[in-house]
């Protein structure tokens, strides 16, 4: 079984600063992890980083150099048992680019992990980190034991650490010659290995699919319940009258495979909010939300934080003065939703009222006399959609290929591009300490993976 670990950028920063403060000494910590089962194997999702204090929690060892104290281990393994979480002990080694457990490390695993498994009744393990490398030894209650495949740092950029750096294995493909001069062979390999989800294949989503396929992303998953209509043709890139009546995901298949015949494409004709559709996106490395329902926003926001999958929400809006009928504002918006504090929910971008209204049937809406909000109409301009789609995919590709690092300032959480006055506005997330999606509260869904329900619809 393939096992990987995923840690959010802010947690990685916290761990890295503790492990490598510049003293060239050994330091320790414990990672509290949720679990998610994917078709590729098991993901351990870091929910919390508990640093071992020097001289109190991390002390000289009679058998090795340093060790976690029994009290520190006991406190954290009992927490894991209470939360149904996975316990991972972490320490650091010197060197860079490659790392391995010492014989003393492995002996300590043999001594202590069987007992920890009995207490937690969950997988337990150890990680050793060096500069640019991470190795892991994961033990399971059934007695099996697996090496960690990789540790992924997920956020505005995506970085994978393994015990040994992988060679760039890219046969030169002239289709990507110009862009690989920027991303490098390794960057192009990264794109080819990524699985990206695109939720909604309308005006914005079709452009995102086109861009991702042409960039060389290896695998796409799309979902949309609709069919191509005549009124869509002005916004669906590459669509023609011959596509009218086709499901949008099939139209998008043609779009993607025309751009990249080797792409692995999965098109789901259904609503992302439905449980069985959303499940296909939980093994993705990145998500683009290009659907305009609040219900989809809630599921997307939950998936990002619960499964530590970074994403981008893209949309556009035309605002009209209700009294005069004048267009008062036109803008595209790109919102980064990454597994860190601050999200769509705690920034008021998923109104409870809208969620409730979207749950009504047409009959209920008529009976309860709902009136559509005439202030806001669905935009229908391909150029507006293209601004948002291009910004979103641009941010994604520079993040995943390592050209943009999350430490580079300024960073935005939301980018608004206003068409009427050409203003560009950046916003940064607020953060609620009690947010049920992104906070560090024990009741939040952050990092809980498959052990927690997504707010999806169950079709009965």
């Amino acid at each position: 079984m393939r096992v990987e670990a995923v840690i959010a950028e802010h947690h990685w920063d916290k761990l890295f600063r503790h492990m490598f403060p510049g003293d060239h000494d050994e330091h320790g910590a414990v990672l509290i992890c949720g679990k998610a089962t994917t078709p590729e194997g098991l993901r351990l999702l870091v929910r919390d980083v508990v640093l071992a204090r020097e001289g109190r929690d991390y002390v000289p060892s009679p058998r090795a150099y340093r060790m976690l104290t029994a009290e520190f281990v006991r406190r954290n393994i009992l927490r894991c048992r209470a939360e149904g979480a996975v316990y991972l002990a972490v320490h650091c080694h010197g060197g860079s680019g490659t790392v391995a457990f010492s014989s003393w490390d492995l002996e300590s695993h043999e001594r202590s992990y069987p007992a920890l498994l009995d207490i937690a009744d969950q997988p337990v393990g150890g990680l050793v980190v060096a500069q640019g490398a991470v190795a892991g030894d994961i033990w399971f209650p059934d007695g099996s034991r697996v090496d960690l495949d990789r540790l992924r740092v997920a956020g505005t950029s995506i970085t994978d650490f393994r015990a040994h750096a992988l060679p760039a294995d890219v046969a030169q493909d002239m289709r990507y010659d110009r862009q690989s001069r920027l991303f490098g062979d390794r960057g192009q390999m990264i794109l080819r290995q990524l699985k990206v989800g695109v939720i909604g294949v309308g005006g914005v989503g079709s452009l995102v699919v086109e861009y991702l396929a042409r960039l060389g992303v290896g695998s796409l998953v799309t979902a949309d319940p609709d069919r191509v209509e005549l009124s869509n043709l002005s916004r669906l890139v590459g669509a023609s009258r011959a596509d009218v009546g086709m499901t949008k995901v099939e139209y998008a298949r043609r779009l993607a495979t025309s751009a990249n015949p080797e792409i692995a494409y999965t098109g789901l004709c259904g609503d992302f909010v439905d449980q069985e559709i959303a499940a296909h996106f939980l093994s993705c490395d990145y998500l683009f939300l290009a659907a305009d329902s609040m219900q989809a926003r809630l599921v997307f926001n939950a998936a990002v934080h619960q499964h530590l999958i970074p994403g981008m929400q893209v949309g556009s809006k035309v605002q009209i003065d209700r009294n005069t009928g004048d267009v008062t504002d036109v803008f595209s918006v790109v919102r980064r939703v990454v597994p860190q504090p601050g999200c769509l929910l705690c920034n008021g971008l998923i109104p409870p009222k809208a969620l409730q209204e979207e749950s009504l049937s047409d009959t209920e809406r008529a009976a309860q006399r709902y009136v559509d909000d005439e202030d806001v109409v669905a935009p229908s301009v391909i150029t507006l959609n293209a601004k948002g789609a291009a910004q979103a995919v641009d941010d994604f590709v520079f993040g995943v290929t390592g050209l943009k690092r999350h430490t580079q300032e300024p960073q935005f959480s939301a980018l608004y591009s206003h068409s009427l006055n050409n203003n560009i506005r950046k916003d940064r997330w607020r953060y609620s300490a009690s947010c049920p999606h992104c906070s560090s509260s024990t009741t939040s869904r952050r990092g809980k993976g498959s052990d927690y329900e997504l707010p999806t619809r169950i079709r009965c």
Partner: protein
């Protein structure tokens, strides 16, 4: 089949209204709920009413709204029922719709029970 969050809401309602809660699946993971024998204030002709509402599958982030009461609800003084109360339909039955939205709703704090208590209190305190 109901979502775990909906089941939790129902459990809280059943603890507050023992033997008065009837819940049916809505086919999406939510529930239609009916609370019987809710006492009314003396401004009304009827001494009590049922209260019906739907808990959507995306509760607690989704608002629980609107609420419905008996269709023949009437005031002793003969005046109209007033604002936020309109003739409507609850599922297949006639009903009075009570439209009390939560403007700054915090799903973690305003459970379905707390919302119901607010609506009942508002109904009882009508001038």
């Amino acid at each position: 089949m109901m979502k775990g969050s909906v089941l939790e809401a129902l459990e809280e309602l059943r603890q507050a209204f023992p033997e008065n809660v009837v819940a049916e699946e809505d086919g999406e993971g939510g529930a239609y709920v009916k609370i019987s024998d809710v006492a009314l204030a003396e401004i009304y002709v009827q001494p009590n009413t049922w209260v019906g509402f739907r808990i959507p599958f995306q509760y607690p982030q989704a608002d629980v709204y609107p609420h419905f009461v008996r269709p023949d609800l009437a005031r002793r003084d003969g005046r109209p029922l007033g604002e936020a109360m309109t003739s409507s339909q609850w599922r297949s039955d006639g009903a009075i719709q009570i439209s009390r939205r939560s403007s700054r709703r915090d799903g973690a704090l305003e459970t379905a029970l707390i919302k119901l208590d607010k609506v009942i209190e508002w109904l009882r305190r009508r001038p």
